[in-house]
């Protein structure tokens, strides 16, 4: 059984905007699934339909075999949702927010209190449990929404840009927490604009653009399609000309920095040896951008070259 099965899902809003143009998708139970796409691609609409906040124009969504359209109550009971925008009452206290959410899922108050304590502690919010939520920092508010989504111990956790605007330290601790949740068997669907986040966490990926899925595969296969990688080389001495290396493209970024793009089949040793022969010494090297980011940009750019889809 799939954790999520989406069949030919279409959504046209009342104002005529076509958000989804027939999306089909399957997410295995226990998967850590990345749902990527540029702004306005249809990710949030898809998540809205899965969580029943948005009504599909046509098509079907099944969560662990239960149709959201036919048995909403049962289907959504499997889901925990961390939305993109803050959507809790800022005048309530974190403990109240998490315990109340448990109540909406029919979880008795004594159990809800225990779970709220557990998740608020795991997300390092327990010392703020009785503060007014409005006074929490941005990162704390994001973590509060994760604690709230976890309180019904969902089988499918959907995270819609959970780390937007969160500093790197908090982001890493949130990744750690979500990774543990996934390791314990919860299926996770993640949308994010931090592509290194998706690359390091997710096993499978779908990229949406213009309301259509333009890529749906496992992360390894996708990354394997990246045939050229670009590296930034920091040099010991200045160069006054652009070195030439056969089969590679090199550009001078500044007098002590080169950018080298080379096909995956070419060895980096060749590059270093050739540069050494030309009297150029490399001090350090790094990827110009994250691998997934390069692929993502290529795929989306390719999509933008297609003729405009008419609603």
């Amino acid at each position: 059984m799939y954790a999520l099965e989406v069949n030919d899902l279409k959504k046209t809003y009342k104002n005529g905007v076509v958000a989804l143009r027939g999306i089909s998708l399957k997410v295995d139970e226990g998967d850590f699934f990345a749902l990527l796409g540029p702004n306005g691609a249809g990710k949030s609409t898809l998540i809205g339909i899965i969580s029943s906040l948005v009504r599909a124009s046509s098509g079907e969504t099944r969560v662990f075999g239960t149709s959201v359209q036919e048995d909403r109550s049962k289907a959504v009971s499997f889901i925990g949702l961390v939305p993109q925008e803050l959507n809790f009452n800022q005048f309530e206290r974190p403990l109240e927010i998490v315990v109340n959410q448990a109540g909406y899922y029919g979880i008795a108050r004594d159990v809800a209190l225990q779970r709220a304590e557990k998740y608020l502690k795991q997300l390092q919010l327990w010392d703020k449990a009785h503060d007014i939520s409005r006074n929490l920092s941005g990162g704390m508010k994001r973590r509060l929404m994760i604690a709230r989504a976890m309180v019904n111990e969902p089988r499918l956790l959907i995270l819609d840009e959970p780390t937007a605007g969160v500093d790197i330290e908090i982001r890493r601790s949130m990744w750690g927490f979500v990774k543990e949740i996934n390791d314990s068997g919860t299926t996770v669907i993640l949308t994010t604009h931090y592509l290194e986040e998706a690359e390091s966490l997710c096993r499978n990926i779908a990229i949406i653009d213009h309301g259509e899925i333009i890529k749906n595969t496992d992360m390894k296969s996708l990354l394997a399609t990246l045939d050229v990688e670009t590296f930034v080389l920091d040099l010991r001495e200045s160069v006054d000309h652009c070195p030439r290396v056969e089969g590679m493209e090199i550009v001078v970024r500044d007098d002590k920095t080169l950018e080298a793009s080379l096909p995956k089949k070419k060895s980096l040793n060749n590059l270093f040896a050739e540069l050494e022969n030309q009297g150029i010494h490399v001090l350090s090297m790094r990827n110009k951008s994250n691998r997934l980011e390069e692929l993502f940009i290529r795929l989306v750019e390719k999509g933008q070259q297609r003729p405009e889809l008419v609603p």
């Binding site: 906040l53 948005v54 109550s73 109340n100 109540g103 029919g106 108050r109």
Partner: protein, 257 residues
């Protein structure tokens, strides 16, 4: 979702609503007590003494039921509209919309919250009235049932307003331009027997008249309309509004796109 889980969901909404009412008691409980004290002083004491008797009671005694039911109407409506629209505006209504709770439980939870505020304010206003006059309640069951049913009707009406409201102005228009005039013209301060026949007929189309008089009958034993008419109007209004709310929630009007 089984009935035990639904009960937990319902009681969570009610608890949350009552906590909210008590947390902002300065906005929810105190203002009606002050406003009604002023009504008792100005209309009951100062002007009422010159008016004399009405329906066999002092004017102060006569207006007590009207003022109590007026507070209940205003506060049950106001609680629902501000709480539900606030949840919509702050997007935390999504906490409920993504939950497995059926819409009728969500509706019942919010209505109970509004009913609780109506009752709290009604009790406070009755207590305030004791500083000005003494009333021997004639039919406690009728008084209580009319009060509860009226609070439910206006909680449901508040829900309809909150569902359609898109900005804060939208939740102020109905109370100011419809609810307040209907309440004042619903026999809170006078018996419609004092009006010319034409205006008596016009008043009979005002549903609040039946609520005020039903409650007055329960409290004082006098009314301008029959008790069955009062119950009938309240019941029909309640049923129409309940199914309207349920229909709107099921459609997701103003909430699910």
């Amino acid at each position: 979702m089984n009935s035990r889980l639904m009960w937990v969901g319902y009681s969570t909404i009610v608890r949350k609503e009552i906590t909210r009412i008590l947390r902002i008691w300065g906005q929810t409980i105190v203002p009606p007590a002050i406003t009604m004290s002023l009504y008792f002083i100005i209309f009951g004491e100062l002007i009422g003494r010159r008016i004399g008797e009405m329906g066999g009671f002092t004017y102060m005694q006569y207006i007590v039921p009207g003022l109590v039911i007026m507070s209940v109407i205003t506060n049950s409506y106001g609680n629902m509209v501000s709480s539900f629209f606030g949840a919509k505006f702050g997007k935390h209504i999504e906490e409920l919309l993504i939950s497995p709770l059926p819409n009728w439980i969500i509706l019942s939870g919010y209505v109970t919250g509004a009913l609780a505020r109506g009752l709290m304010v009604g009790i406070v206003v009755m207590c305030v009235s004791l500083f000005f006059t003494r009333i021997e309640v004639q039919h406690p069951f009728i008084m209580l049932s009319v009060l509860l049913m009226t609070a439910i009707v206006f909680a449901l009406a508040g829900m309809v307003n909150a569902i359609f409201a898109q900005k804060f102005d939208d939740i102020a228009i109905i109370p100011t331009f419809i609810l307040a005039p209907l309440t004042y013209l619903g026999g809170v301060f006078y018996s419609i027997a004092l009006l010319p026949e034409f205006w008596q007929k016009v008043s009979s189309f005002n549903p609040i008249l039946y609520m005020v008089n039903g409650f007055r009958y329960g409290m004082l034993g006098v009314s301008d309309v029959s008790l069955s008419q009062s119950y009938g109007v309240i019941l029909i209004a309640g049923l129409i509004l309940f199914f309207t709310c349920l229909h709107l929630l099921n459609k997701g009007t103003g909430m699910r796109s």
